[in-house]
């Protein structure tokens, strides 16, 4: 058993005082009188007077004692201000996708600043965020530190690492997160649930699928609504563009403009010279929005901004090697990997820090060499060998479909005839569905000497006991 409030033991003094009062209690004296004739009139007079004015001090004292006792039972606490030297790191999960000045401003930013100051009164606030935010406004409440944009987990990892020196952490999140509550006090990013925020626009052929939160309607120009489905607190609407430009205006979302996509010009050269290659390219041009030219935006071993290069490897012994790849990468989506003999040509790419491997050959857990790599600007995919020629036509077509999809954003098989001309950077789904929730975690002020909230319960209890004792003294 611990005693949270040692001063409360002062109440024990009242026990001694009560005992003293009980000891001093004297019985009534007996007085012989001739008759009660006059005394009964006195009693009647006093009773009449008491009926007129009820100013019994004992009653008021006991009432005051009860009042103070009730307050004491409620354990009133004065929220002590953190010392001015305390530093509280505040993470802001962004609602706006803004990356550059002048883009969509961050909603409810002022309210969050006020709430942060209320949670940690008197402390120095350090705001951590990703993307672009109004720093002047943040500077009015504390200092700012930018994080690299990434998933929530990535940003929280950065926040935790960079705020290591802070005394406490506060996180304003769109949704509660058990992992975040272990870092610090998690508070809702918004004070009311968001609705009508577009977080995804899908382009399929000449159809536009708009995903938004809540059931709020959208303002769409230049397109006709084909159908809408409301489920799980969100809405999906399908539109068919009717004009050259389709515009979507929604709450908390930048203006989205969708226009007809021009055909992608493709060119081929270099190693793409076999019959298999030519057949693949012809099928590509014939079945999708592609136009073959000498110089194009998409190239196959030729001088183009986006390229697919084959036969770029060096001889390597791949006997007994195994494959290692990122199965989540779009290059391998719906791709029958076993349909390719990746190791047959014994070629691997030379290691290059500017390239990210997508498929590697390993032996005993060690990477022998990379078979497929993508440049960090995602403009070029390089193959060590030529999997297109060695595989069946269907598998080769699937691989090429995925490869072009990685480079240009949509696979030729999707036959996208539209493109987002403006507003491609949308809020995240978490930001679109942000809603209030109960705070989680605690404001853990880890620095030594940080003040604790000052509890007044013992003071109220002592005052209550003093009044009760005084009342007891009056009844002696």
């Amino acid at each position: 058993m611990n005693l949270e409030q040692i001063p409360g033991l002062f109440l024990l003094v009242s026990v001694g005082l009560l005992a003293w009062l009980a000891f001093m209690q004297r019985g009534a004296k007996r007085l012989e009188v001739g008759t009660l004739f006059i005394w009964q009139r006195v009693v009647a007079r006093q009773q009449a007077r008491e009926r007129k004015v009820k100013m019994e001090p004992l009653l008021w004292l006991l009432a005051a004692a009860l009042l103070l006792g009730s307050f004491a039972a409620a354990r009133p606490v004065l929220a002590a201000a953190l010392p001015s030297s305390a530093v509280v790191a505040v993470y802001l999960e962004r609602l706006s996708p803004a990356q550059h000045p002048g883009e969509l401003p961050e909603p409810e930013l002022e309210e969050v600043l006020v709430r942060a100051q209320e949670v940690a009164p008197g402390a120095k606030l350090e705001f951590y965020y990703s993307g672009w935010i109004d720093q002047e406004l943040l500077a009015t409440a504390g200092s700012t530190r930018a994080l690299a944009r990434g998933s929530l987990a990535q940003e929280l990892a950065q926040f935790q690492a960079q705020s290591r020196g802070a005394d406490a952490r506060v996180l304003f999140l769109c949704e509660p997160s058990p992992a975040a509550s272990r870092i610090g006090l998690v508070l809702p990013r918004v004070s009311r649930a968001r609705s009508g925020v577009v977080h995804q626009v899908e382009l399929r052929g000449r159809r536009v699928f708009v995903h938004s939160s809540g059931s709020a309607s959208l303002s769409v120009d230049g397109a006709g609504l084909l159908w809408a489905r409301l489920s799980n607190g969100g809405a999906v609407r399908e539109y068919e563009p009717k004009a050259a430009k389709m515009a979507i205006l929604a709450e908390g979302t930048p203006r989205i403009e969708i226009v007809d996509a021009p055909p992608i010009q493709v060119c081929s050269g270099g190693q793409w010279n076999s019959d298999v290659h030519r057949a693949l390219l012809e099928a590509l041009v014939r079945n999708s929005n592609f136009v073959q030219q000498d110089k194009g935006r998409l190239g196959f071993d030729c001088d183009a901004p986006s390229r697919v290069e084959i036969q770029r490897g060096q001889p390597t012994d791949l006997a007994g090697a195994q494959l290692s790849y990122s199965s989540q990468h779009r290059l391998f989506a719906e791709l029958p990997l076993d349909a390719f003999n990746w190791l047959a040509q014994n070629l691997t790419l030379a290691p290059d820090p500017e390239w990210q491997p997508l498929l590697s050959a390993t032996r005993n857990g060690k990477v022998i060499g990379d078979l497929i790599a993508i440049s960090f600007d995602s403009k070029t995919i390089r193959f060590a060998g030529d999997p297109f020629s060695l595989a069946s036509a269907g598998a080769a077509a699937l691989l090429l479909d995925n490869t072009i999809g990685v480079l240009v954003g949509s696979r030729p098989s999707e036959n996208v005839r539209l493109r987002i001309a403006q507003g491609a950077n949308l809020p995240t789904e978490r930001a679109a569905y942000a809603a209030p929730f109960d705070p989680q975690g605690t404001l853990d002020v880890s620095s030594a000497g940080a003040p604790r909230p000052f509890e007044l319960a013992h003071l109220f209890a002592i005052a209550s006991a003093a009044l009760a004792l005084f009342a007891a003294w009056l009844t002696r």
Binding site: R26, G27, A28, K29, R30, L31, E32, V33, G34, T35, L36, F37, I38, W39, Q40, R41, V42, V43, R45, Q46
Partner: protein
């Protein structure tokens, strides 16, 4: 309380000497007052035979001396002289409430009665301690004192009942002195009104003990009445004692007003007061002396 006192304790020699001194003092006062004390409301009383005179028209036929007419054959009227003899009746409150107080009220009340009786007998009058028979002559003072000694405060009947009995007596006394604390509703004194209508001089002597007039006790007190049963617990403080003073004062004032309205003599006699001062002061001033 309630202890039966002996004669020597109740009426000690000093008290008897005090009575003599009181008589002398009152005689001196009468001398200064001329013909003596004549009290308002007193009846003409009895007269003393002086002689005969011949009957003349208009004389009261009830005063004819028929014996003289039988012997002499002439009608004579008997003439009387007004006598100074007093016929005093004292009603001493013997209720248990008189047993309270320090000094006890009943002791002082009996001494007042003793003094009144002594003065009446000394003045060749009669004194009766109701309901006992009247006593005549100062030589029977001892009998008077014996009666008073036996008048302990243990009477069960109320003062009201006893006053009604006194008022219903066939022979109306010339003077009635009621000695009591009068700590009861004034309706108890209604019977005295009937006596007044029959030209009886009424004197009320209210005996209260000092602690009854101004209680000094403070704190929580159980008031135990001698008369009623039970106990009344009270918190005696400045407020309640002030209220007591107000109520007692109102009661005394009502009693005095009642006495004035009926022409009674009223005197408040604290039980610790000086007897001679009482008779030469309050009672003398209002003409209550015998």
């Amino acid at each position: 309380m309630g202890t039966c006192l002996g004669m020597a304790e109740l009426f000690d020699p000093a008290f008897l000497h005090e009575l003599e001194a009181l008589n002398v003092a009152l005689l001196r006062m009468r001398g200064r007052a001329g013909e003596g004390i004549s009290r308002a409301g007193r009846s003409s009383g009895q007269t003393e035979f002086r002689g005969h005179r011949p009957y003349s028209m208009g004389d009261d036929v009830r005063r004819l001396d028929w014996n003289a007419y039988g012997r002499l054959g002439r009608m004579f009227v008997r003439e009387f002289e007004r006598e100074r003899r007093e016929h005093l009746s004292i009603l001493l409150d013997r209720s248990r409430s008189m047993d309270a107080g320090s000094p006890a009220k009943h002791l002082f009340a009996r001494r007042i009665a003793a003094a009144l009786g002594f003065l009446a007998l000394k003045g060749e009058g009669t004194a009766a301690l109701y309901p006992e028979a009247a006593i005549e002559g100062v030589r029977r003072l001892n009998r008077w004192l014996v009666l008073l000694r036996a008048s302990e405060p243990n009477e069960a009947r109320s003062l009201s009942d006893r006053l009604r009995e006194l008022a219903s007596m066939a022979r109306t006394p010339s003077d009635v002195v009621v000695i009591s604390d009068f700590m009861e509703p004034l309706a108890a004194l209604e019977a005295l009104g009937a006596l007044s209508e029959r030209r009886c001089a009424v004197t009320l002597i209210q005996v209260l003990s000092p602690d009854e007039i101004a209680p000094q006790v403070r704190g929580t007190v159980d008031l135990a009445p001698c008369e009623e049963g039970g106990v009344l617990r009270m918190e005696l403080d400045a407020s309640s004692l002030g209220a007591y003073g107000v109520e007692l004062g109102a009661h005394l004032e009502a009693l005095e007003t009642l006495a004035l309205r009926f022409g009674w003599t009223y005197a408040l006699a604290p039980s610790d007061s000086d007897l001679r001062a009482l008779f030469t002061g309050k009672l003398s001033a209002v003409g209550a002396g015998p």
